[in-house]
Symmetry: C2
Subunit: 115 residues, 2 copies
DNA sequence: CTACGATATATAGAAGGACGAGGTATAAAG
DNA sequence: CTTTATACCTCGTCCTTCTATATATCGTAG
């Protein structure tokens, strides 16, 4: 049974990438795999979304990268979080929490809600 | 104190609108007010986002509209949910729940998460 | 009376992200 | 040697969001 995949709302991908990278240096391909595994297939990151996002984050100074060998002896671009990226992660995580709390309020709204 | 406003991720606005309209016929301007009030100011809906979204939903057959008088005696376009809209609301609400659960898993990820 | 703020709708234009499709390259497995 | 998995990249399209602008009515403050 293929778990239902859902497209990511614009903006949330950055948060997820920052979070994964915060756990330790990883290369792009592995980031996508982790996200898919941990989310049990709900979050799927096509490469056409992944790499532009990584470059975006790098250009914004939130990630830094260098080429290293993987465990299997291949070259890959390993990303790590900058100080700025760490702050941004905290900010975005907090924003996300505020947002889903707010949306939860709205979705819990019953007919008497705005009396 | 900086007002904690946050931009809505692409796609979530439709869900919120459908939810508000599901509670009973409302006009656009009131939808935005309700969203802002219920979410305590976190969700703010600029008119440039609101009206295109309403037209979009109407064109997709999820909302239907007719002009009526408001309580204050002014003309306004009142929206109501179609059957299709009701189904779509359930679908989108379920998708949203799946998504935030998945993202919660990711954000809760610790260093041992994917071993 | 006039100017303003709130109500109520609408559109145009700019910006930006997500995604599918395509391309490159290497290593291991069959 | 061809396929599969790994690993990177980019172009073009689609879609949504937001800022700004425009219109019109109503109540109220000056």
């Amino acid at each position: 049974m293929a778990p239902p995949k859902s497209d990511l709302p614009q903006g949330t991908l950055d948060l997820l990438i920052l979070k994964v990278v915060a756990l330790g240096p990883v290369h792009g391909y592995a980031i996508a795999q982790r996200l898919e595994q941990v989310s049990r297939g709900v979050v799927q990151v096509p490469e056409g979304s992944l790499y532009p996002a990584l470059h975006r984050l790098e250009n914004r100074g939130l990630l830094a990268a260098d080429w290293k060998e993987t465990e299997t002896g291949r070259e890959a671009k390993f990303y790590r979080l900058t100080g700025k990226g760490r702050k941004q992660l905290q900010t975005e995580a907090a924003s996300w929490q505020r947002l889903i709390d707010a949306i939860a309020l709205i979705l819990a709204m019953a007919n008497g809600g705005a009396r």
